[in-house]
Symmetry: C2
Subunit: 546 residues, 2 copies
């Protein structure tokens, strides 16, 4: 990492220190775990925060009962006054505070404000006998990028440490109008540039909740922790290249990137048509993703708030089609997944194949090299220099992966080149769609990344997620329930003939021991606007994996 | 117009002459009107082809009955074997051939092929007792841009005079699979560049069917004639800046530009994300537009053929809401409409105001200057030079309006500038949407152009249509049933203080006599993806204007 300059130290460090102090002050002290219980060597000794929570019984039975309920049931119990919104908020806040002590996932708590809101919701319910909406009383965490009026959104840049949002993000507005309670916002990488939850603002890397020596991935790093640890009833990230699906896979939860324009997009990339960015739900339960989408769309009617969104209702219906045809892509044609991922895919294939109503076929990659190049170009098309500018404003030290990411950009594309690339993009979109329609493939099953979570600042960029942003196909990370096992997940024989630098780097550098216990997630991809069918499959497949 | 070069004469003129010969040969001779009946001075003496058709009873009673039926009824009668597909085709072909003699609207007939197809459809219906689909036996005309496999698509460029399409356009495929019969393709401007149906290929300008000395507008020039003359049961154009709505207004029919991505887009501008191009139906009946959209989408499921399209069904339902709130925009803030258009708008406002279930309010333009500049930039963003290249390949002579259109382009925008523009675009989209949602405005009523049809090569570019491509809002041209009247539509008093060059040009150059008898169309605009509600309004309003 580059060294901080003198002007950075003089001008910016004081602001950063103030920011850190505010973060520390914002933590509701009454829920803090005794400090002695928090391991000091999180960064070097593998620590499973989730197991710790349950093994040490850090919540009361009732608090566990509340916070472990799926959203639909929890919302129903709040609506029936079985739990008050205030009680639910307190239970989740306790869980979130412990989560933060163990993983540093938050950028800001605002418990008092949330408590006021929860009390109002309770009063409303008592007064009127009905809820504000389907999210009534559900505590929801939000990624930094999903800004809230009156609060800082820095997008991982020191130069934005004092930038207070004047409006709330459309997703925040929709959820709030339907009854959600916001109480914590969560961490992201420096300038949202890479797959690791670290920046110069919070001062502490967000650690993987399953193995603290590993990265959470990014850029929805804090939200992935929130969902895995169940620090909130719902977690909300954004995804432009895999920023929901990758940290979900690395950290051990599920994460859904809908088709673009079904719900609100991110903040950081407005005006970018070439590649779709979108917000999306994360959770440890697939049913919660569906709950989020159904109510956000059908009750929230987000197109009345944002004219760029598509007015299309969420189709509700039976949880599964008569026969689901799944195409398994074991290899994307550029980088072969490492042993743990391969094991996950074979496990999934076996479980699916054993189900009477699922047909499994192999799916071979379509124009992988072209797709990859398209994605990388779209990323540096227009905002490489812009990003650099935001970082340069404070002259903040760059993390190694930020430095690397910067190397990609720099060339200014012309509008004509832009158009040629989008023309190619649309043609490949059709290639995928035509193939899936012709062979009646409902869902593609593949890796999320060519490896499970690795140590911080060592992840290569993902080639398994980005293509489905380029193609704007809905995609969801689900968990197999398996974890990396150094005894099993070893490379057998010598590998040569690498097809890409990335494949070479990952395979040559692979050390089975490094990834011990990392969750093995896989990715499901659907046809554009078949989000409903995709989440039905995610729910069904997850049940088959048990 | 520039003079043809020697190489153009030597290399290209022979090809053009061959093309013209093929067009002449393709006309089914049995339907030709006695040549002596066709006025020789069409270009200089106003001639109303539609009145002529009816007054001279150029079709038999039965042929009139068939060709004047709305699509839904006609399709039902074919399905009930009351008319055969062959008889229907013959009736429309006769009407289309006469139309071509009077207006030169076609680029190609293929009657024999269509006859074969119609006979197959009849045989299918007899054999199975059911139709191929909702368009079974309906003869449909297509703009040149909507290509058909095996046929030339030149997009108005001499250099493409021999370019045979290898595939059919998605809209052509959808319609054909649902039973449509194609039999004629129609004319467009040089390089689709301007509002006048003339190019160097067909050798004859397509003339306005209501007043032959006036332009049809463009670029769906031939389709506007087809719809007004009812030369086909349905006419299909494309619209990226007004190319459906403008010629519809000028020529006297209705034309619908749906929200982008609901049905297939055009051909000429693939890869262009900044401004949406779309195909859309044209007809003399508003119900036909609805018929087209409903069946194209719900039965054709176009997203299975083109992955860029949105999977959203066409909502069918009652023809009108309880209360429709209409915002009338009399002036776009840049160019005030001329007297005939103003009269049309006031007439419409009066009729709507008199209806118990319509509320009329005034709608004031939102950021008109910014919108206009955006639109013009989007047009020259990336393909100005590309267009010039296609024209330069043959070095064909340029029509004055093509020359003018070229002057606009030339500057290469960067991808970053592109992004800034789309950012602004999305912000103004929200401004419109927020305003319409807040004030519950269902539909905006305004001009299609600041004037009615004028003499060829004299139209300014339209500022009333382009904004709604930029904003991707659905928009439809409907007819008031009024026509320009030189005795009434005069400028009263002196006008000064022009807000734009275009306003100055049109107002200073206005000669009421020029536009005698030109149809007065107006435009209705809906919220994005509220296409269904918009066409319901178009049907209802048209009935009120009678």
């Amino acid at each position: 990492m580059s060294l901080p300059s003198a002007t950075y130290k003089a001008e910016w460090l004081p602001k950063v220190q103030l920011y850190r102090q505010r973060l520390a002050d914002s933590i509701p002290k009454e829920y803090l775990l005794d400090d002695t219980k928090v391991p000091e060597d999180l960064d070097t000794v593998p620590f499973n925060a989730v197991s710790f929570l349950y093994n040490e019984k850090l919540l009361s039975e009732r608090e566990f009962a509340i916070t472990d309920l799926k959203c639909e049931t929890l919302a129903a119990k709040i609506a029936a006054s079985e739990y008050s919104s205030v009680e639910v908020l307190k239970a989740f806040t306790k869980r979130a505070v412990i989560c933060h002590q163990l993983t540093h996932f938050a950028t800001e708590f605002f418990f008092d404000q949330a408590l006021e809101r929860a009390a109002e919701l309770d009063a409303y319910l008592e007064r009127t006998g009905s809820t504000v909406g389907p999210f009534h009383g559900l505590p929801i965490s939000l990624k930094d990028e999903l800004h809230i009026r009156g609060k800082v959104m820095h997008l991982g840049n020191v130069s934005r440490v004092e930038t207070v949002s004047e409006t709330s993000h459309i997703s925040a507005r929709v959820l709030e109008e339907l009854g959600a309670v916001f109480f914590v916002r969560t961490n992201i990488p420096q300038a949202m540039l890479f797959l690791d939850g670290v920046n110069n603002l919070t001062g502490r890397r967000t650690t993987n909740p399953i193995n603290s020596t590993l990265t959470t991935g990014g850029s929805s790093s804090g939200e992935a922790v929130s969902a895995t640890f169940r620090a909130a009833a719902l977690s909300v990230g954004t995804d432009m290249g895999g920023s929901i699906r990758l940290p979900a896979a690395f950290s051990g939860c599920l994460g859904f990137k809908p088709t673009g324009k079904r719900i609100a997009n991110g903040t950081g990339y407005n005006g970018q048509d070439a590649i779709q960015t979108t917000s999306g739900p994360m959770s440890k339960y697939p049913e919660d993703l569906q709950f989020f989408m159904k109510h956000y769309i059908n009750d929230g009617k987000p197109w009345t708030k944002n004219a760029s969104l598509v007015r299309v209702p969420w189709i509700t219906g039976p949880a599964s089609q008569k026969l689901l045809k799944v195409g398994i892509m074991y290899d994307d044609g550029v980088t072969r997944p490492l042993p743990a991922i391969e094991r996950g895919l074979r496990f999934a294939a076996e479980k699916l194949d054993a189900a009477a109503d699922v047909e499994v076929v192999e799916f071979f990659p379509i124009k992988p090299q072209e797709l990859l190049e398209l994605g990388l170009r779209f990323f540096s098309l227009d905002d490489g220099p812009a990003k650099l500018g935001v970082l340069a404003e404070s002259n903040e030290p760059l993390f190694p992966m930020a430095q690397e990411a910067m190397n990609g950009g720099g060339k200014e594309f012309t509008a004509s080149e832009n158009r040629e690339l989008t023309f190619t993009r649309d043609a490949i979109k059709d290639d995928f769609n035509n193939y899936m329609v012709e062979y009646k493939i409902d869902v593609i099953l593949t890796a999320v990344h060519l490896n499970v979570a690795t140590v911080p600042q060592k992840s290569t960029f993902s080639l398994y997620t980005l293509p489905f942003n380029v193609l704007d196909m809905p995609a969801v990370t689900i968990q197999t329930g398996l974890f990396q096992d150094p005894a099993v997940d070893v490379i057998k024989g010598e590998r040569t003939g690498f097809r890409s630098d990335m494949e070479k780097t990952e395979w040559s550098g692979y050390n089975a021991e490094t990834h011990r216990g990392a969750p093995i997630g896989v990715q499901l991809i659907g046809k554009r606007f078949y989000d409903e069918e995709l989440l039905n499959a995610a729910i069904y497949f997850t049940s088959l994996f048990k």
